[in-house]
């Protein structure tokens, strides 16, 4: 063992200052940019953030004592400290072991209750409670564009979505492309967009603003560029936009749909004055029944 000790113990823990400085610096550089998950602009995102912080605090209640205990034990019982007690045969203590089976058990029980309740209250399928009536927007993930259809207004938009603030939105989501994930972090969590299926995501924007929407699941070549703006605006502004869209020359016919659903990295935004009847349903059904391809 003596040769081991002679090998020298370069004291290198001060190197830990490097990450502190560099990560601190990068954080400073990120100042002024949005921490979408931590700075939500809608009640769903808000609740999800609170949940995230609550669980973090509960977990920290165990982790921080563990760190302190580790440091204390390693320091006190280091080989060089001959004053510390040495009990080589000590290999168990019923009370101690009972404690560390039970304390985590209690914390996890609390967490389990939180998980059960929050999963049910924040179920993305569930309509949000609000004074305003929920509005439906249909979403189709394409290669590599996002198509939004507003059945109540009879219009559609490509690569951006407009929503009235404070009106709960029920996004009906499908894909006519490899599986994707529809995520507007400022408003709340994501849900998969899958061909031949519809998923629901209920969100609401509490504030007026433009939020980044992203394609969160690898869906092929153009996936990284497949983001869109979600514009939350006053009800009046939204109505005005919908009315203006109705007067646009372009309409979303089946032919136009077939043309925009071809793979492309082109991200131009546009709106359509009208939408071919039942387009969303036909996009879903084309995968479900032979002979139902869009023509």
């Amino acid at each position: 063992m003596s040769s081991l000790r002679k090998a020298g113990r370069p004291r290198l823990w001060w190197l830990l200052a490097i990450p502190v400085v560099l990560i601190g610096g990068a954080l400073m550089a990120a100042q002024g940019h949005s921490f979408d998950v931590l700075q939500p602009a809608g009640q769903v995102g808000d609740k999800e953030r609170s949940l995230l912080l609550l669980v973090t605090i509960l977990a920290a209640a165990i982790v921080i004592p563990v760190f302190a205990l580790t440091a204390a034990i390693v320091w006190r019982y280091r080989e060089g400290n001959s004053k510390s007690k040495y009990s080589p045969e000590l290999d168990g203590n019923v009370f101690a072991e009972f404690t560390w089976w039970v304390i985590p058990l209690v914390i996890i029980t609390v967490l389990a209750v939180i998980a059960w309740n929050s999963t049910h209250s924040l179920d993305p399928n569930k309509r949000l409670v609000s004074a305003n009536k929920t509005m439906t927007i249909q979403v189709v993930a394409l290669e590599w564009r996002w198509l939004f259809i507003y059945p109540e207004q009879g219009v559609a938009s490509l690569n951006y979505v407009n929503i009235p603030a404070n009106t709960p939105i029920d996004f009906e989501i499908t894909a006519d492309a490899p599986m994707n994930s529809f995520w507007i972090p400022k408003l709340g969590g994501q849900i998969y967009a899958m061909p031949g299926m519809t998923t629901h995501l209920n969100l609401v924007a509490d504030k007026i603003g433009t939020y980044r929407g992203s394609s969160a699941n690898l869906s092929g070549d153009g996936f990284a560029g497949m983001d869109f703006d979600a514009n939350s605006m006053g009800q009046d502004a939204f109505d005005l936009w919908a009315k203006a869209a109705k007067k646009l020359p372009a309409s979303l016919s089946t032919d136009e749909y077939l043309s925009i659903s071809k793979p492309s990295k082109d991200k131009h935004t546009t709106a359509y004055a009208s939408v071919s009847a039942d387009l969303y349903d036909r996009v879903v059904m084309k995968y479900m029944m032979p002979g139902m391809e869009l023509k």
Partner: protein, 650 residues
Amino acid sequence: MFGRLTWEALNNGPIVLIGDLSMLGGVLTVVAALTYFKRWKWLWKEWLTSLDPKRIGVMYIVIALIMLLRGGVDAAMMRGQQAVSVGSDHGFLNADHFQQIFSAHGTMMIFFVAMGLMFGLINLIVPLQIGARDVAFPFLNSVSFWLFASGFALINISLVVGVFSAAGWLAYPPLSELQYSPGVGVDYWIWALQIAGVGSLLSGINFLITILRMRAPGMRLMDMPLFCWSVLCSMSLVAFAFPILTVALALLALDRILGMHFFTSGEGGNPMMYINLIWAWGHPEVYILILPAFGIFSEVVATFSRKRLFGYVSMVWALVAITFLSFIVWLHHFFTMGAGADVNSFFGIMTMIIAIPTGVKVFNWLFTMFRGRIRLTTPMLWFLGFVTTFTIGGTTGVIMSVPPADFQLHNSLFLVAHFHNMIIGGVVFGYFAGLVYWFPKVFGFRLNEKIGRLVFWNWLIGFILAFVPLYILGLMGATRRMDHYDASMGWQWLFIVAAVGVAFIMFGVLLGIWQGVVSIYQRKANLDTTGDPWDGRTLEWSTASPAPFYNYAVIPEVTDRDAWWVRKQAKIKPGKIHYEDIYLPKNSAMGIYIAASAFTLGFAVVWHIWWLALAGLIGIITLVIIRVSDPEGHEYVVTADEIKALEARS
């Protein structure tokens, strides 16, 4: 004649060409060195055809380390790309190449680095720890290794001939189906994993039986070293989980080759089925990797605290609980698929329950150090690095086990940071601790301690630098796998720091190679003459270092846990030793031939060269029949006198 294979398959642009040339350079250097030093025969007889698990273990580790270099270069390219590809600048990699790189990175790191290090250490140590001379099925063990090696060959050949999958390391359909990935990339992925996976399954069964049937007389299950317990749990997971992988891959292959519709979007296919199947294997896989690391730390902490392991029974039950739970949490990988709240909360709660037995293990390790005499050697540094990083990873894991919180973190860089926290901080640190700890048992000398510490600090600092920024980026809403992003997001500096972190880790890897070179050069100074360099506790330290090819001249009798420590404390003088004849397996090249046929089969199917595929298949069947009907027998005898002579010499 050659299916889809044309000369065009060799043309993949300048960056891949550099990779090809460096690989070719490496191979030529090895070939030249072997020829110059006239070592071909030695290589064949002593290593390639050997059925000695210690030799096979070393070969596993060599492959794992080569793949660590390749996977590391991939990581560096990914973070390098993300550090510069801002706004209109799309970096030096196009989207398809970038996607191939992260798909290859994940595949190689899990299937070849982590699995390779794991099976390597298991081969080296499990027979020694249970006081056995060999594994239950030595020939099968060689087949397993060579199948693993042919998966390795297939994944590397994809760099030169054709392309690799760009569909992510788990190749979710429908992206991985013919419709969206018509090339050979996904096929390479399928067949490399299929062949290596069958090897892993066979190996899992082999070690399961080895541990259950070949323990030294007197060693009850509850007397086994914790590492053996962890391997027992891990291998039972292998036996149950890997068949699921085999089936999932086979069905995907049928979709791609025969135009079937198991997982396609239309025609009655269901991609969600694949995602369930792949994670029903994939989640246990995570525990297959981490449990042996837990076992290693249990050995390391007890040895370097000079104390019995605290709460042995609790430790065993915690392992068993984790083993069981790991099969009922797979859905937490896709809470966002739209399942109802009941289903999501069930899987969320099952997931957080795993934190209980894991927490118990951490406390028991800490109290193993309590009232001990702690020597802060390199394996202990890896342990301390593990406790801190792994606990943080556990915390972020518990956060993501709450489904609504997961909706905001899934597919983000937060998730990427989390699982690297578990895989690097847990699995890799654990296996590195094991490598340093058991190195003298395998090679007869210790690794250089000073450089070992530098390796550790580079990895730890690199790890923090590389992954803390990813947690932050995830909270900013950055998704994973992006080859470029908008400048307005303010992400660039965090990506740059992450890239610096990768540079630290790569420097750590290079230092690790340097450590190996220096240690070999100075081996005389670090020679282990006692067989017990760390004042160990378990049986492997009772035999010479390097362990003789027969492991034990006389099979030890076990009466207690920490069998070797107890014997040392009791100061029993060995009485008159009674040697007996030892039967050991003969060398066999059949494993190599079978794996070569499997490689041929895989390569041929990837390129649709059907006659060659048929030849490969017939080859495998014929070789197995020849092997099992070999009349000469597969064992040779080392007589008692020979053993006596060998023992007297050492």
